[in-house]
């Protein structure tokens, strides 16, 4: 193999598994160390710069970082990254004076943001401090979008959301709430220099063709609409027997909300097998903890309506069959259809984009699924003035993805308004600094803690089921937060190898607790992976290969289960190994990144 090019910022970035997996590339280990040091405000601000809504995400994030966490490959459970973020948010000091304001003198450019969800608010936050005049339009009375309408208060208290939304709106954003935008043409006719569409995926899928759907309509609700109706206090009760259809996180929010509005006998009924449900495992656990059974392998067949009143639903029992390509089909078991009693049914089987308010003659091309054609890097549509982000851009995902897209949209809008090429994306900010303090001292806590993942305490369900605004999770306290933070392996403290300093004493190879380092003859990657101290079977993890050493061999390090304990560097007599902290931050829209 050729020597690894560690000058490519993406090499070391990839070693920081959590950060690499995060759509916004939040510098996770950096803020976890700050939490351990009780520097909650700094930890919060690192998050805020990157993901804009640390308090919200610390409670509700889909956490793509956690399945990626190296700790999960070394022992059983990853670090509780998401809930540590909440520790920072819960314990932070006053951050108002750390948040930038819009300059008194604007730059003369106006941008309209349609929808006040996480994508639009991210664009607002990135552009307002640069002098842009930002106008946000939303049909609701407050900002937040689906974070407000679809995430129930028992998971995300309103005060937390209000604070983080207002931190942005207080920058001097012009808000136009209770204003439904019914025509993009009208918006474009005004003097905006650019328009950003962050209207989410507002349409819940329905079972329109199912028998009894029309007759039982009064007691059949679309999940996301019903959740919004609860959030804005138009709905305050539901029947005793409730069926929630669907296996995603919206279904979990629907069933748990039902339990708080009078639902005593609430069931989740889902087509797919339990293990293949789309909901996050922890959300399924939380639902079952609130005495909500999940019936899998049940396909809805009809709504049963008697005398104009919904009585329940019938289901066909199925099992999953997989063809040789792994494609799943649900095949009937041949048993009789099952009847399940219900006073109300919530349909939470997915959501779709919907752009009835965008005229089709504005130069915005739509594909055969009625989705606008949006560049996946610049988020520009085929009308150069119109940008998309969040669920509206590339289909429904999650808050953290919307934020990441918002950042890129803001960069594009800024470049567009300054007459620059959108292809000229700013490079990430990187920094690589030795952590050596002395013979046995590093400026990070290199000892690997043996603790298993700590469990986040929950409030008693006799209390939480009575009040839909009572937050269920209590969060880690400071001590638990410290202990959980210590489980982090500091993957951003990189093992940096300098080939011409190595005297090939083998000390690093002998000491490495996880047998990552091998000195051997060079070969192809496929061959090398079989010849290491322990076979490098995880092909997603790179090999760090040195240049040729004095004896003709090379140093090969499998990054897979490196504990970043620093023992290689400590046992190295010539500092050929050093532990160096790699800080990687996605550059946001700012004029520092422009040449003129």
């Amino acid at each position: 193999m050729e020597p690894t090019n560690v000058n490519d910022p993406e090499y070391y970035h990839k070693v920081v598994d959590c950060q690499y997996a995060c759509p916004a590339h939040t510098p996770v280990p950096e803020y976890i160390r700050l939490i351990a040091a009780e520097r909650y405000t700094e930890a919060y601000m690192i998050n805020w710069e990157s993901n804009v809504f640390p308090g919200v995400l610390g409670r509700t994030c889909d956490r793509p970082c956690e399945p990626a966490c190296r700790r999960g490959r070394v022992e059983e459970e990853p670090v509780a990254i998401c809930r540590l973020k909440r520790v920072a948010a819960d314990n932070k000091g006053d951050v108002k004076n750390l948040i930038p304001k819009a300059p008194k003198q604007g730059n003369g450019k106006k941008v309209a943001l349609i929808g006040a969800g996480p994508a639009s608010l991210t664009v607002a936050r990135d552009l307002a401090p640069l002098g842009y005049e930002i106008h946000v339009f939303d049909e609701q009375i407050k900002g937040g979008g689906m974070m407000r309408s679809q995430i129930p208060s028992f998971r995300l208290p309103e005060a937390v959301l209000d604070e983080e939304v207002n931190n942005i709106l207080d920058m001097g954003i012009h808000t136009h709430f209770k204003t439904y935008v019914s025509s993009l043409k009208d918006v474009l006719a005004k003097d905006y220099d650019a328009v950003f569409v962050g209207t989410g995926a507002p349409r819940g899928r329905d079972l329109s063709d199912l028998q009894g759907r029309k007759e039982g309509a009064a007691n059949i609700h679309i999940g996301i609409e019903w959740l919004a109706s609860v959030a804005f206090e138009h709905t305050s009760k539901i029947g005793k027997n409730v069926i929630v259809l669907g296996g995603g996180n919206t279904a979990m929010d629907c069933c748990r909300t039902s339990r708080r509005l009078g639902g005593e006998n609430v069931k989740v009924v889902v087509r797919s097998p339990f293990t293949e449900m789309k909901a996050s495992p922890w959300e399924k656990e939380d639902a079952m903890h609130e005495d909500i059974p999940i019936l899998d392998n049940h396909v809805p067949k009809s709504f049963v309506v008697e005398n104009g009143q919904l009585k329940g639903m019938t289901f066909e029992k199925v099992h999953a069959v997989y063809d040789e390509k792994g494609k799943r089909s649900l095949v009937s078991t041949g048993e009789d259809h099952v009847f399940i009693e219900a006073d109300d049914v919530l349909v939470a089987i997915g959501q779709e984009n919907s752009f009835p308010w965008i005229e089709r003659d504005l130069g915005i091309e739509f594909d055969k699924w009625e989705m606008p054609k949006v560049d996946a890097v610049t988020f520009q549509s085929t009308n150069p003035k119109v940008f998309f982000g969040g669920d509206a851009a590339l289909g429904p995902k999650n808050v953290i993805t919307a934020v990441a897209q918002g950042h890129q949209g803001a960069i594009s809008i800024d470049l567009f308004c300054q007459g620059k090429s959108l292809a000229d994306r700013p490079a990430p900010f990187t920094n690589l600094i030795s952590q050596k303090m002395g013979i046995h001292e590093w400026s990070y806590d290199s000892v690997v803690a043996n603790d298993h993942r700590f469990v986040v305490a929950q409030a008693d369900k006799t209390i939480t089921l009575k009040d839909r605004k009572k937050e269920v999770e209590l969060g880690f306290n400071k001590l638990e937060g410290f202990k959980e933070a210590q489980r982090c392996l500091n993957c951003d403290v990189q093992t940096v190898f300098t080939v011409n300093r190595c005297i090939e004493c083998d000390a690093c190879m002998d000491i490495c607790p996880t047998s990552c380092i091998t000195f051997t003859d060079n070969g192809t990657e496929e061959d090398l992976r079989t010849r290491l101290m322990a076979p490098a079977l995880n092909l997603e993890q790179d090999l760090l290969v040195s240049g040729t050493l004095a004896t003709g061999r090379v140093m090969v390090k499998d990054e897979d289960v490196c504990l970043h304990c620093g023992l290689c560097a400590e046992r190295c007599p010539t500092s050929a190994w050093d532990m160096q902290k790699f800080f990687y931050n996605v550059t946001k829209a700012h004029h520092g990144c422009q040449t003129a």
């Binding site: 490959r73 070394v74 022992e75 046995h440 001292e441 590093w442 290199s446 000892v447 690997v448 043996n450 005297i503 090939e504 004493c505 083998d506 000390a507 190879m509 002998d510 000491i511 607790p513 996880t514 047998s515 990552c516 101290m533 322990a534 076979p535 079977l537 004095a550 004896t551 289960v561 504990l563 304990c565 620093g566 023992l567 400590e570 046992r571 190295c572 007599p573 010539t574």
Partner: protein, 350 residues
């Protein structure tokens, strides 16, 4: 600070025949200097014992005093150990070996421990052909007392302080040949591909197996002008042969060109497969071994690899015809067979 070694290990660590991973052969975290050759040798011992699938509780580590003799703390943490008085490890080994021939004996010594204070003991252990592996971690200096020249420092070698050694070195390999050691090898801590099979072969040998391992002292003897530095040894190293250790019952798959290869069958059925690099050398012919050694010395080369082996040797127990059962397993009825046995014995002597 990382004095503490993490407890996590690679989830796919290979297992040996008795289902152990290398972790089961590790010891405490070394306190020797970073980059010490001795730590590499410890690593090679761990690897060799793992590959030989030795049950750790069947092995006894014995050592004297010195940096080298500290190392048994850093490997085979589940084995027996005896850290003896300076230079007296051979006596302790002799006693232990006579008391219990069932254990595998592994002696670790240094150039000071063996070539100076313990020389009188060392030579008698060779003469008696104890069934043990005897590793000398040879760095040519007294590292524990700040690097004075030892008895194995070559004449002309320059110390870190700049003084030149005026005295000739004691060559432990030459000494071993002269005294009749039945397995003699030299190796280098920086060459595990050679050292590991040598250790495995030594442990399979039924008599006294000496391995003199040149092991650079990174702190006091790794300077320019030293003949025991990493750089100097790498530049001057020569090998008698490459060496493959093929355990019992395993098919030999490597094939060498005729004339250059040599197989040595060991008493336990394992085979040493040697690819000769040194013309005229035959590992079972002591004279050719001595000539190869002297030739290398004349040329200023460091001859490594297997130097001499006498595979069908008789160990001390066989020579003395001693009891096969370890003394601690001899029960009272055997040790005190009673009046009748005494009578019979007395009768036989009349």
């Amino acid at each position: 600070m990382t004095y503490i070694r993490p407890t996590f290990r690679h989830p796919n660590l290979p297992k040996n025949k008795i289902n152990y991973t290398k972790k089961d052969y590790e010891g405490a975290l070394s306190t020797l200097c970073a980059g010490c050759g001795h730590d590499s040798i410890s690593g090679a011992i761990i690897q060799a014992c793992f590959e030989l699938a030795i049950e750790p509780h069947r092995l006894a580590k014995l050592s004297g005093i010195g940096c080298s003799s500290k190392t048994p703390a850093y490997f085979l943490g589940n084995s027996h150990g005896f850290n003896s008085v300076h230079g007296r490890m051979p006596s302790v080994a002799t006693g232990a070996y006579l008391a219990n021939r069932d254990l595998v004996y592994f002696g670790v010594s240094g150039d000071g421990d063996s070539a100076s204070i313990g020389m009188g003991q060392f030579v008698h252990a060779i003469r008696r052909n104890l069934n043990m592996t005897y590793i000398v971690m040879n760095n040519g200096c007294y590292g524990l007392t700040k690097g004075q020249d030892s008895a194995t420092a070559d004449a002309g070698s320059i110390s870190k302080a700049g003084s030149t050694n005026l005295f000739n070195a004691i060559d432990l390999v030459g000494l071993g040949l002269e005294l009749g050691a039945t397995f003699i090898a030299r190796s280098f801590s920086g060459d595990k591909t050679q050292l590991i099979p040598l250790i495995k072969a030594a442990m399979s040998h039924p008599g006294f197996a000496l391995i003199d391992v040149i092991s650079p002292c990174v702190t006091f003897n790794n300077n320019t002008g030293s003949t025991k530095s990493y750089d100097y040894v790498r530049e001057h190293i020569e090998a008698t042969s490459t060496i493959d250790f093929v355990p019992t019952m395993e098919e030999i798959t490597t094939s060498y060109e005729e004339g250059d290869s040599k197989e040595v069958a060991l008493h336990d059925g394992s085979v040493l497969n040697l690819q000769k690099l040194n013309q005229g050398w035959n590992p079972e012919d002591k004279l050719s071994a001595m000539i190869a050694l002297q030739n290398a010395k004349t040329k200023g080369e460091i001859l490594t690899g297997l130097i001499y082996i006498e595979p069908k040797t008789q160990s001390l127990h066989e020579v003395l015809g001693t009891c096969e059962t370890p003394l601690n397993e001899l029960k009272e009825d055997l040790l005190c067979p009673g009046q009748d046995a005494l009578e019979a014995l007395n009768q036989s002597l009349r």
